[in-house]
């Protein structure tokens, strides 16, 4: 891609990416926020494309579309006022957060601009897909495998944390004597002395599947 084309894609994309990114946190609707994030990161994929990283750009677009759809689902499921109808504020400590963020931006931006970055200043090139393939299947094989492990255990962990009810969907046999010592003991350990609190698994709320539209 030529410099001009790059510029033509990059500038507006970058602007949109940043604006949508910022508006993720300025909207009072969680669904909107999710969509904005999707947009922002999707646009980032476009930028990747413009910066000659076609493989990564495409990958980013695909990932984001998948991921963001899931995220929107979540928002609808769990958030108070997912549609932002109530206009409620989801922020705290905004001024100081903004100041800190501005400071971070200033510091990083200043260093980024001021630094005489090393390396060849080239145009129009980036590692091509073959190089990436060699990298993945060669030097970074171990890391790649490890990334796979990470995904596996993120899934396992996610299920562990999120799935409700008996093990792997098999309901506990009725009448089986439950070892209350196990869960109870840990529970009390965490409760830090509040004996009697039995936050056993059975104590979970039954159907937390949607948010309450409390006034």
């Amino acid at each position: 891609m030529s410099d001009l084309a790059t510029a033509l894609v990059f500038w507006p994309s970058a602007a949109i990416m940043l604006v949508t990114g910022l508006y993720v946190f300025r909207t009072s609707s969680m669904a909107r926020a999710g969509l904005l994030l999707l947009a922002s990161l999707g646009i980032e994929g476009l930028i990747f494309l413009s910066l000659a990283s076609e493989f990564l750009g495409v990958l980013q677009l695909l990932m984001m579309s998948g991921e963001m759809v899931i995220m929107v689902f979540f928002m609808v499921m769990f958030m108070a006022d997912p549609g932002g109808l109530m206009g409620m504020d989801m922020t705290h400590d905004k001024r100081r957060s903004a100041a800190v963020a501005a400071g971070v931006a200033a510091a990083l931006g200043a260093v980024a601009v001021a630094t005489d970055w090393p390396g060849a200043v080239v145009t129009g090139a980036a590692p091509d897909i073959e190089q990436i393939g060699f990298e993945v299947m060669g030097r970074s094989m171990l890391s790649f495998l490890f990334a796979g492990m990470t995904i596996l255990f993120a899934m396992v962990g996610g299920i562990l944390l999120a799935k409700h009810g008996g093990r792997l969907g098999i309901p506990a046999p009725a009448g089986e004597p439950r070892d209350e010592e196990g869960a109870g003991a840990i529970g009390s350990a965490l409760a830090g002395g509040e004996a009697g609190v039995e936050p056993g698994v059975e104590g979970e709320p039954e159907h937390p599947s949607h948010g309450s539209h409390a006034p």
Binding site: A33, E44, E135, M155
Partner: protein, 102 residues
């Protein structure tokens, strides 16, 4: 035209937006979004560097892949946690999580 500092500055701004989100949002999901943006900024850096400084550095591309993986897996676990939290408290507001302190 475009040059490396421009890309890096854009990434820095994106990162700062992510930081702002992580700091200012009361809702866990929103905070996760901020984190996604921060990771996105890191990817943008790497891509920028590959384009303008190290065209042959495939390890950078792999690094971006890794970051994408991280985005995905962290989101997965994050959502799972939010579900669990919601089951317990019917809320994912971080401001409510103040039982542990001191």
């Amino acid at each position: 035209m475009i040059s490396l500092p421009v890309v890096l500055t854009a990434a820095a701004l994106l990162f700062a937006i992510g930081v702002y989100g992580a700091l200012s949002q009361t809702n866990a999901i929103m905070v996760i979004m901020g984190i996604e943006l921060m990771l996105g900024a890191a990817m943008l850096n790497a891509v920028g560097f590959m384009r303008y400084a190290w065209p042959d550095a495939a390890s950078g591309a792999f690094f971006v892949l890794v970051v994408m993986t991280l985005m995905a897996v962290e989101a997965t676990v994050g959502f799972a946690l939010v579900i669990a939290a919601f089951r317990n408290r019917r809320t994912a507001e971080l401001d409510d999580l103040t039982e542990l302190k001191g």
